[in-house]
Amino acid sequence: MPFKKMLIAGLLFWLLGCGASAPVQEEKAPLGSGSSSPATSSSLVTQLITRTNGENLGIFSYDTQYFTPIYLADSSTDAAFVVLVNVDFSLQVTLSRALGRPDTLCRYLPAVLARDQKFEIGKAGFKTNDLGQDLYHTSASLASDYRSFYCGELAPGSGVLITALANDPIPLESGPFFSLLNSIEAFK
């Protein structure tokens, strides 16, 4: 009975899951603490991460011995909370508000760099910081332009985006930068 054979063949194909675009298979890993140098000092400043209506979503802190703030948000409606630089290492870090799921934004940004500026995309995946906060990490590079993106969801649909730019990959692994990443915590 050809129809039955055809039906069985069709069901087998579907049962085997052929044709589904392969989902991104990624496992969470500990964020780690970066490289040992330079060491993080005790001069830390803590700042709030808020919704545009002022409601607190979370906090983070950064090392003022290592980072110089060149922009600080003066109202909860600002898109960026802080822009930090380290002149010695040509490192610039921006923390800004993020909406939606974290893996969408942090995969979209390097994809645009790859399409429009021919950046090469690095590994991607969830990393869990010391306080249990999941951060989705992607990276992209082009010649001496190295970029890292971390996205964390602090409440359903709202969170934080950390973008880091440097002219060398080493500052993106520095202790004070990882200390900042490990300090991100959602308000319970």
Binding site: M1, P2, F3, M6, L7, A9, G10, L11, F13, W14, L15, G17, C18, G19, A20, S21, A22, P23, V24, Q25, R51, T52, N53, L99, G100, R101, D103, T104, R107, Y108, P110, A111, V112, A114, R115, D116, K118, I121, A155, P156, G157, S158, G159
Partner: protein, 375 residues
């Protein structure tokens, strides 16, 4: 005088040209009553979980001429939350002979929906999204001359759910509209084996409210309205003996307007079955397909809970496709073509074509289990 001579020449040749148009193998009105098929399936997709679903198609219900289709699939288990529900009523006759209306409703939710950036240089890097939307589609159609001339107006009302500035779920609803014209000079509207088919589609200004719903205040239509999208397609069906057909197809789309914005615009996407849907899109695109179809006559009356109707033929197919997209309508459309090829098995049950295609490309394998020919 020259024009008059040309007109005379056209009139003299017209009868010969009309003689080249193949007769219809069957008439739409002569379709068998109450033909249907239901394809139940369970699928386990890595990362998404276990699915149960059904794909159904019903033709000429109760002799009314009305067709219907249903797709329903759900995950069960806690791994993810996905549901797909889509229902369609087609060929609903209106008061004028040849005038019908079609209505679709879809309620779709994907926990993980993988998309690609638009653009010729779109990287092979998927962007996961949570898709949750409702889709309403109304299509009045006017068909003449044994469905050889088809004029359809397509009105779509899309209700998507996103995230607003406070991270809360927000509804964005908007309309889109288009006009399709099809000149079908083949021997059959469902499974053509000889003749030629030409189609044209153009985006039209959409209403802000209709019987389907009303646009939300946050609907982003301003920039979209600046764009003009058109597409052309041409299908050529060449018979080889009584059982084989070589089907050739080309489709071009083009989008103009809003060039000053510098944005990468998706005016359409390539119809390459070996790539994920929507993998290649840009302002301009060109797809070419060659498909060899071989029919095995069966003539078997199916009368089961899964299907009812006469299985006229089983059809095997081999196909090769290539295409490219570009931000400009230039020679880039012919360079570095994306290629895809595959095999297909189709069941021709009266006026329903159940199609299973397996295609491969540099992106891997893709399977299509659906109703109707690709072209």
């Amino acid at each position: 005088m020259k024009r008059l001579l040309l007109l005379l020449l056209f009139l003299l040749l017209a009868s010969d040209l009309f003689a080249l148009i193949p007769d219809r193998r069957r008439l739409f009105e002569d379709r068998e009553e109450n033909v249907y098929m239901l394809i139940p399936a369970i699928a386990s997709l890595p990362g998404l979980g276990l699915f149960a679903g059904v794909l159904g198609s019903f033709s000429n219900i109760g002799g009314s001429g009305i067709d219907a289709a249903v797709t329903e699939a759900n995950t069960f288990g806690s791994q993810s939350d996905i549901h797909i529900r889509a229902y369609a009523l087609r060929e609903v006759p209106l008061f004028i002979n040849g005038l019908t209306v079609e209505y679709w409703f879809g309620d779709i939710k994907f926990a993980d929906f993988y998309t690609y950036l638009p653009g010729r240089d779109s990287p092979d890097f998927v962007i996961p999204q949570t898709g949750k939307f409702k889709y309403y589609f109304l299509r009045p159609a006017y068909r003449l001359w044994q469905r050889r001339i088809n004029l359809t107006y397509n009105l779509v009302f899309f209700k998507g759910f996103g995230v607003n500035g406070e991270g809360e779920e927000a509804l964005a609803a908007s309309h889109s509209a288009s006009l399709d014209f099809l000149l079908d000079l083949t021997d059959d509207w469902v499974d053509p084996r000889r003749g030629i088919r030409m189609g044209y589609s153009q985006k039209l200004p959409a209403p802000t409210k209709s019987v389907l719903g009303k646009n939300s205040e946050n609907s982003i239509q301003g920039y979209d309205q600046e764009l003009t999208s058109k597409s052309y397609n041409l299908g050529l069906y060449i018979p080889f003996g009584n059982q084989a057909t070589l089907a050739l197809y080309e489709e071009r789309f083009l989008t103009t307007g809003g060039e000053d914005s510098g944005q990468v615009v998706s005016g359409g996407s390539l119809r390459l079955r070996g790539y994920p849907a929507g993998r290649w899109s840009d302002r301009f695109g060109d797809t070419k397909i060659a498909e060899f179809r071989y029919n095995i006559p069966i003539n078997y009356q199916i009368d089961s809970i899964f299907a009812k109707g006469r299985l006229d033929d089983l059809q095997w197919a081999l196909f090769y496709e290539e295409g490219q997209v570009s931000p400009l309508n230039d020679r880039q459309l012919k360079e570095n073509l994306h290629q895809s090829s595959g095999v297909g098995l189709r069941a021709l049950i009266d006026a329903i074509v159940l199609r299973l295609d397996v295609a491969t490309s540099e992106a891997g394998f893709q399977t299509h289990l659906t109703i109707d020919h690709a072209f």
